[in-house]
Assembly symmetry: D2
Homo-oligomer: 152 residues x 4
């Protein structure tokens, strides 16, 4: 039923590791509504936090994601993976680190790490694979002016 | 930052494929609040739907997840993966199919497929890897009476 | 900062009480992700459950809300109120009862009660006031064919 | 089914209006996952934003809500009301203004206004009524040391 995320895995070997790539970081805090009865942040929120990271990544590259959509392009999530290592608790501050792992006209891969604020211990890590589409949900290519900014 | 989910991938080769395993299915409908401005269900909801599937799987095996927690055991999510193939729209009915891919005293792996209701086309697929812990978040083993029921 | 919901309150005195109006009921179950660290369903989910109720109300009246939007009309939420009486817990089944309290071409008011499944005790109650708009978010009137069905 | 929120409404007349009370403000941004297919923030998120406001209010008063719970007290939501005036869109920055409208050992009322960032136009307003309970969900009184800080 599931496909192993080969494209991403293989890129670990053949390309520079993402640790060598520039990243950006943002800081967030766990909301009360994001906890569950286990007393920790619920697993689905991590995908929301990854998305916050992408939004800030694009903004810092000078091309807010809102503008990408206004120009008629969508980075549709094709795959999402998260590995949960340590729980996050209500009101805890944490860091979201975002790396652009791979970018091609029709495909973008982001990688993420969540870190504790003080000790910078890894709380979670993951990636999302995006397919570029137009407003009619057809696969298409990002125009050069957007590609250049994201890669910059 | 991310680890390729080897344990799961390798199990595809050495074990019977999950297509041969018994599955259970439940039916759900996309809530308005689960859509986003792209007009389709937001990616984080799939992890919530996987969880609904696990809840029903345990119930049908005669050991509701609520009871597992009441006995002091937790199936903490260690990894989650989802591949999104087709969008789901507001009010659309769909099927969640759940398979118990792997079960050991300290680890449980579920696999999921989301299908359109009528044509049974695959909308999404994924898996979650769970670590068994006690109420103090220490890794422990599921007792035989729970293991037997889940495996049955 | 807040306006007391006079229109709704006054309708209690001058109109038939909603207890005399026909209602519809649907059954739901608390999702794990809907609980918070207090161990009970988080307050924001009640607004989502109210919405599930509206969706089913319209469907049972023969005019699914999806179709209302496809015809270019939106029932935008202008006010929402909830009174929380008893907590709901993970996996608990409950009833959502929906009443059409008031309907006019440009305004619709729904009232809701959440009940325990077995003993029918009130868990929560509330209302939502909706303004009718077109796709450009301008206030407009529902056409007679939709009004008739909702009122029926 | 619903009770008109008299206690709050009547307090408007007999007490100083909340506009005279000190407020605190925080700034937030609409997340992509908080939008719905109408293209604007979904109504349930406003209750989550009110909660973010309460969390910051308590922190700024020197008694983080996390500590209140650690001491064994819970501010359980008994009523929530929101009036939605203008939509909020993806990535839009907005202000949450929080006022402590009423405080008694067993009951706390917060009022909220959401404002556009630049022009300070009111986007939404509302209130929440809280009942003080202990860990066994029994109504109880906040101890003086917490009361003093919240009122300060």
């Amino acid at each position: 039923m599931t496909k192993s995320p080969n494209s991403v895995s293989s890129s670990y070997k053949t390309h520079l590791s993402s640790e060598d790539k520039p990243w950006i970081e943002i800081q967030e805090r766990v909301r009360y509504s994001e906890t569950d009865k286990m007393g920790v942040a619920h697993n689905k929120n991590y995908l929301e936090w990854f998305e916050l990271g992408r939004t800030e990544f694009c903004r810092q590259k000078g091309i807010p994601y809102k503008q990408i959509e206004q120009k008629g392009y969508y980075l549709v999530v094709g795959e999402a993976f998260c590995r949960y290592r340590k729980p996050l608790r209500y009101d805890e501050e944490f860091i979201i680190r975002i790396v652009l792992e791979q970018v091609a006209p029709k495909k973008v891969v982001f990688k993420y790490a969540l870190l504790t604020k003080e000790e910078r211990k890894i709380v979670a890590s993951g990636y999302t694979v995006h397919v570029v589409t137009n407003a009619r949900a057809e696969v298409c290519s990002l125009p050069p002016e957007i590609l250049e900014k994201i890669k910059a």
